[in-house]
Amino acid sequence: MLTFVIRRLLLAIPTLLLISLVIFLLVDLAPGSPMSEIPRTVPPEVRERMMQAMGANEPVVVRYLLWLRQFFLVEPAYVIDSLMGTNLAGGAQRVLSWQSRMPVFDIIAQRLPQTLTVIGSAYLVGVLIALPIGIYSAYRQYSWFDQLGTFVTMVGSSVPTFFTGVLLIIVFSVNLGWFPSIYDTTLEVTDWASFKMQIMQMALPVTMLALHNATEISRYMRSSMLENLGQDYVRTARAKGMSERVVVLKHVLRNSLIPVVTVIALGIPTIFGGAIIAEQVFKVNGLGTALIGAINASDLPTVQTLTFIFAVLIVFFNLVADILYGILDPRIRYD
C-alpha cells in the first residue's frame, strides 16, 4: 500500500502540471476580458493601458510561466519569510488578482473561514443525516419511512438551490424574522452572545446546503444497502444467528460503503470550491463567489490559482478514496 501511495503521489505532480496548463489555456480561450466590469465610458486607449499594466497583454506562454514561477517559487518564499523572518522572496511580485490588485492568497485567507464554517458544516450535517436515513430506508424498503424519504429526496433534488434559498429567506427572514438573510463575515465569535449570532446567521445557508447534500448521499447509501441486503452472505450471517444489528451495521454497511465513500470523497473538495448559489443568496462571500466573480471578470490569476488548489484537493481526495476502498474491502489491491 505504501509504495502505491508514493507512486500515486509522484504521478500526481505531472498530472497536476498538465491540469494547470489545461485550466490556463481554457480560461484564456474563454470569451470575456478583464475589462468587462470597467464602465463603457472609459475610452479604448485607457483600457489598453490598464491591460498592459496588469500584464494581461503578454502572450499566453509568458503569463503561464510567470504564474508557475509566482505560484511555486514566490508564494512559498513569502510563506517561509513570514514564518522564519528570512528574506527569500526579496520583494518579488506575488500572484496578484487583476480585479482588486490584492495577492490571491490574501483573498483566499480572508475567505477561507466563512467557506469552511458554512459550507463545511453544511457538508458534515448533510452526511450525518444522510447515512442513517439511507440505511434505515433500505432496511425497511417500501415502508412509509422509505416512501416519504424517496419523495422528499426526489423533490429536493429537483428544486434547485436558487429556489430553496430564496424560499428560506422569505419564510424565515422576511415573514418570521427568525434568522438574518445576510451573513456577516466581520462577526468574531468571542463570547456566548456572538456565538449565538454566528449560529443564527449560519442557520439558513447550512440548512439549505445540508438538505441538498443529504439528498444525494442518502440515495446512494440506500441503493447500495439494498444491493447488499440481498446477498448470500447476509443470509449466512443471519443463519448463524447473528443479531440484526450486527448483520446490518457491521456486515452490510461496511460492504455498502464503497459508492458512498466515492461520493463523499468527490464532495469534500467542493467544500473548498464553495457553493456559488448559496454564497450569493446569503451573501456569505466565500471562495465560491470569489471564483465566480473572478470568472466573470476574466481575472485569470485568481481563477487559475483557485482552480489549481481545487484540482490538488480533487487528486488528493481521490487518492484517499482509493486507500479507503482497500480498507473497506481488503480484497481490493493496487500493487
Binding site: 485550466i23 426526489m154 446512494y220 441503493s223 447500495s224 440481498g230 482552480t307
Partner: protein, 308 residues
Amino acid sequence: MTETAATLIEKPRSQWRDVWIQFRTHGGALAGMVVFLTLIAFVTVGPLVWTVDPSYVNPDAARMIMTRNKPPSLDWPLGTDQLGRDMLARMMAGGRVSIAVGLVAMSIAIVLGTTVGVLAGLFKRLDGPLMRLTDLVLALPLLPLLLVMVFLFRDALGRALGSETGTFVLIVSAIGATSWMQAARIVRGEVLALKEREFVLAARSIGTPPRRMILRHILPNVISPVMVAATLGIASAIITESALSFLGLGFPPDFPTWGRLLFEGVDYMQLYPERVLWPGLAISLTVLSVNYIGDGLRDALDPRIRGR
C-alpha cells in the same frame, strides 16, 4: 403468416417477459410509468389540443396590461406571466425541450461515465490514464468550459444541423460531457470490488472474454448506483439547461424551458406563488416518475428478487 404460425408454438420463457411480469407487480413503478407517459403526452399532444402561442404577447398595450399575472382561470388554466403569456402553453412548449434535454443529457453522461468507470476498474492499464482524465475534467471550472465549448462549436453545429437541432445537440453534449465524472468514479469503485468477487474470478478462470465479462457479469451488478446517478442526473440536467440559457448559451431568450420558467418565477414568488409551483412540480414529477420506474426496473432485473 409467419407471425400467426409463431404464436401457435408455445413461446420459450423469455427473460424480458419475466422482467415485465415482475415490473407490473411493482405499484410504484407502474404509477411512475403512468405519470411519465402523462407528462410526455402533456408536452407532445398537449400543444395540439391547447393551441395558444406560448410566446404571444398581446400587442395592444391596454389589453396586455389587463392580462398580466392572471391567476389560473378558465381562459388561462395555469394563469399568465408578467407579459400576459399563457402559462399552460409555455409549460407545454418548454416541457418538450426540458424532458428531452434531461433524458438525453443524462443518458450521455451515464453511458460515458459507466464506460469509463468499467474500463478503469477492470483494466489496470487503463485505470491511471482514465482516472487522471476524470480528475482533470472535475477540476476544470465549469463556466469557462461551457463558454469555450459553445464558442467553438455553436456556429459549426448550427450550420450542419440547423439552428434549433444544433443548439439541442450542443446543449445535451455540453451537459453530458461535464457531468459524467461522478458516475465514472462510483462505477470504478464498485468494479474494483466486484473484480475480486468469486463469480468474477470464476468467470475469468474459464476464459470469459472481456466483452462478455463486462456485459454479463459486471454491468448487471453496478446497475443500482448507476440508476441513482441517472435519476439525480435528470433534474440537474434540466436545471443546468436553464443556467446555460441564462449565460446566453442555450435556446433563444423567449423560449420557455421549465428551468427558465422556474428561475423567472423566483422573482415573483411572493406575489404569484403559482409561477414557481408549475415548473417546480413538473420537474419534480418527471424526476419522481423516472425514479420509481428505475426502482421497479432494478427489482425486475434482479433475478434474486424476480419470482420471489
